[in-house]
Amino acid sequence: MANRSSTDRFTLASTSAYVSTSASASGAVFLDLIFATLPIILIVVYTLTHAAYLSDNRIRNLEEEVTFHKLVSVSDIIVKQLAVQKSGGGWDSKFEPNLIDESELSSINPSAVAESIGLKSIYIGFEPHGAQSVQSGTKKQNSICVYRIVVSGEFREIRKLFICGD
């Protein structure tokens, strides 16, 4: 009886030791898993954030470039046809590129032009002094601008025409 009791005690002790060793081993694996996955999660999160930022940046740059090219095209039509001095009439009218007629310039409807090329708004005017002479000639902050060199007035003064848009 005494022998059996001591054997039972031995078995109980060894089982308890085994359970204890197994629990500490699984705890170590769990910790190892956490420490191994944490950097991966951090790398993935950082990468996704950075990729989203770069992608947004690229889209914004492309949009600005498209707007810039649209404004260049509009400015070309303005300084070659829409706002220039014309002689003759109808089909025979002759345009004088870069020779701006201020009344023709004021008659341009910026919102119609902006709508036709898919921009929100367009601002046209002379820099630095003549902006008041054109109804839409106030530049807006943070808009993209292109400049054209033109002459206007009786003495054909050299002036800088701005066409801004967003």
């Binding site: 993935v44 950075h50 990729a51 690229r58 740059n61 260049v72 300084v79 820099e127």
Partner: protein
């Protein structure tokens, strides 16, 4: 576990590498068409102001200086020693004909950034 970690890290790095490389290069919009328009504008302004009649160098210099004040661009005529300021990097050059001393002559107009 470490092998899997290394593989995932490598895959993530390789997937983002093109984006990182493209972001290192600053985005420079292609404005060559606009530069060409600007150069033609300036040539046209000289023409409208009558500076090419007899190729009046003093009038050309005066108008070139005025355009430089407005735009901070240097204007130079290579063959005729006309320049409005000390230039830094060249933007564009266009070649056109003008009447000099009664004869048509190729003139190269150069636009550059003011130093």
């Amino acid at each position: 576990m470490q092998t899997i970690e290394a593989i995932i890290s490598l895959l993530v790095f390789l997937s983002i590498l093109p984006l990182i490389l493209s972001s290192i290069e600053p985005h420079v919009p292609d404005d060559s068409f606009y530069r060409l328009h600007l150069a033609n504008d300036i040539w046209r302004v000289f023409y409208l102001r009558g500076d090419f009649e007899n190729f009046d160098k003093s009038a050309l210099n005066s108008d070139a200086n005025q355009i430089t004040k407005l735009t901070s661009l240097c204007i130079g005529f290579e063959e005729e020693d006309v320049t409005s300021c000390v230039s830094d990097s060249e933007l564009i050059r266009i070649k056109k004909t003008a009447i000099v001393d009664g004869n048509p002559k190729w003139i190269t107009m150069k636009l550059s950034v003011k130093k």
